[in-house]
């Protein structure tokens, strides 16, 4: 157990300090929130209608933006080999690593998601529901990004490839997470259902993705 804690602490520390920590995803999320209205137009009712959706969509992209650093660096600098030879079960090792990195870099997303929604004219209650859904979506988002990152580790300019691989897998969590905020805004009774489905997808991803990521790392070292 202490080995997993060692990995979790190391990855969180490295992600927090090096590579800009939370700055990368935060900056990307803010940029997306700023640009969307310039493209969509200032009409208040339109913006508030698309607000929750934009939050979910922008959060997804900011997780994708930092995906190649998750496992790409480890592949290159020899850490992945050493992790596989450390005797810790690869699936648990990967879960500890992704959890550490996600906490260190993605914690601002729900906060910005809530504030951003309010900036788009979404009332407080739906904005909070949207933020809660984002929080529930983070495990799925980061593990899927990790899976795509592990598959494409070490490939030059793998950003585009990771986005292409991860996009289909992000469809369910995006539908449910953005749906929670949108349903809350439109007042129909599906908001809670969407939130629970988001959490369900995240739990399923936590159960499955680590094995996929471990297999991907092993195959890329073969």
């Amino acid at each position: 157990m202490s080995a997993l804690r060692a990995i979790f602490m190391r990855e969180a520390r490295l992600a927090w300090a090096g590579g800009g920590g939370a700055a990368g995803p935060t900056a990307f999320f803010l940029a997306a929130i700023t640009l969307a209205p310039l493209a969509i137009g200032p009409a208040a009712d339109l913006l508030s209608a698309v607000g929750p959706g934009i939050m979910g969509f922008a959060a997804l992209l900011s997780v994708l933006q930092s995906a190649d650093r998750l496992f790409g660096d480890d592949h290159g600098d020899g850490t992945a080999e050493l992790y596989l030879l450390s005797g810790v079960s690869p699936a648990w090792l990967v879960l500890a690593k992704v959890t550490g990195q996600a906490l260190a870099t993605l914690w601002p997303l729900p906060v910005i998601g809530c504030l951003g929604a309010m900036m788009y004219g979404v009332p407080v209650q739906p904005a909070l529901m949207g933020a809660l859904a984002l929080l529930a979506a983070i495990p799925a988002l980061s593990l899927i990004a990790g899976f795509a990152g592990a598959l494409a580790a070490g490939i030059r300019r793998s950003g585009l490839l990771i986005a292409l691989i991860a996009t289909p897998m992000m469809v369910p969590v995006l539908i449910f997470a953005a749906g929670a905020g949108r349903s809350a805004f439109e007042g129909d009774e599906r908001a809670l259902a969407n939130l629970l489905l988001t959490a369900a997808v995240s739990l399923g991803t936590i159960a499955l993705a680590p094995f996929g990521i471990a297999a991907a790392i092993r195959s890329r070292l073969g």
Binding site: S2, I7, R10, G18, D73, G78, E81, S86, V88
Partner: protein, 219 residues
């Protein structure tokens, strides 16, 4: 550079129980090209093997097969009676081409992490760093270490993991004369404790009574 006697390096690490590596009839191909055919080797505790041969003859591939990263096309690898898959973690010390150091992490933090991860005590870190003469760099981020200093830190990590069988891929690559001497004494200390080592190398490393294998002849 006086050759440090093996006993000078004295982190209190117990002897290894005997762990023999048996490789029989190994053949490896990469992309349709056969690199190694019918390769056999027995590595008893205390042994050292130096693999040489022009690059591209499969030295690295062979080491990666022994570590369990690559499945051989034929032949068997046994640590005692177990295949690399199950047992590699408990008895393999691995040094690949890359040193496994994070640029913004200091040797102190890195080596403490590796000690915790492999369940070893942190007390052995300083004596081993002294053995490789890099103890003064313990708080300098790895990005600001030279290639040779990074390699020495990686060798400290290998020793720290306290595993009986070392697989070293070009261990002396970026090392200078002093570094090679310290590597030799580290290996001698390891072998004195009942450990064994296989190294792939271009350079002439004069480790006492090490078996030399030219992989070029094995095709």
């Amino acid at each position: 550079m006086t050759m440090q006697s093996a006993t000078e390096i004295s982190p209190d690490m117990p002897e290894f129980e005997t762990e023999t590596l048996r490789v029989s009839g190994l053949s490896l191909a990469r992309g349709g090209i056969e690199l190694v055919r019918g390769f056999s080797l027995d590595l008893a505790p205390g042994d050292a093997v130096l693999m040489s041969g022009p690059n591209g003859t499969g030295k690295t591939t062979l080491l990666r097969a022994l570590a369990g990263f690559i499945r051989p096309d034929a032949g068997e690898i046994r640590f005692g009676e177990l295949p690399p898959g199950e047992v590699a973690a408990d008895c393999l010390g691995w040094l690949g081409h890359a040193d496994g150091l994070k640029p913004n992490e200091t040797p102190r933090a890195a080596l403490r992490f590796w000690a915790d991860l492999t369940g070893q005590s942190r007390k052995a870190i300083l004596p081993l760093m002294r053995a490789m003469a890099v103890e003064s760099l313990i708080d300098r981020p790895a990005a600001r270490l030279s290639r040779g200093q990074q390699r020495r830190t990686a060798l400290v990590r290998v020793a720290l993991a306290n595993r009986p069988i070392w697989l070293l891929d070009e261990p002396a690559g970026p090392l200078d004369g002093g570094g090679r001497a310290r590597l030799a004494s580290l290996v001698a200390w390891h072998r004195a404790r009942g450990g064994s080592v296989i190294a792939a190398t271009h350079q002439r490393l004069d480790w006492p009574d090490a078996r030399r294998i030219d992989l070029g002849a094995h095709r």
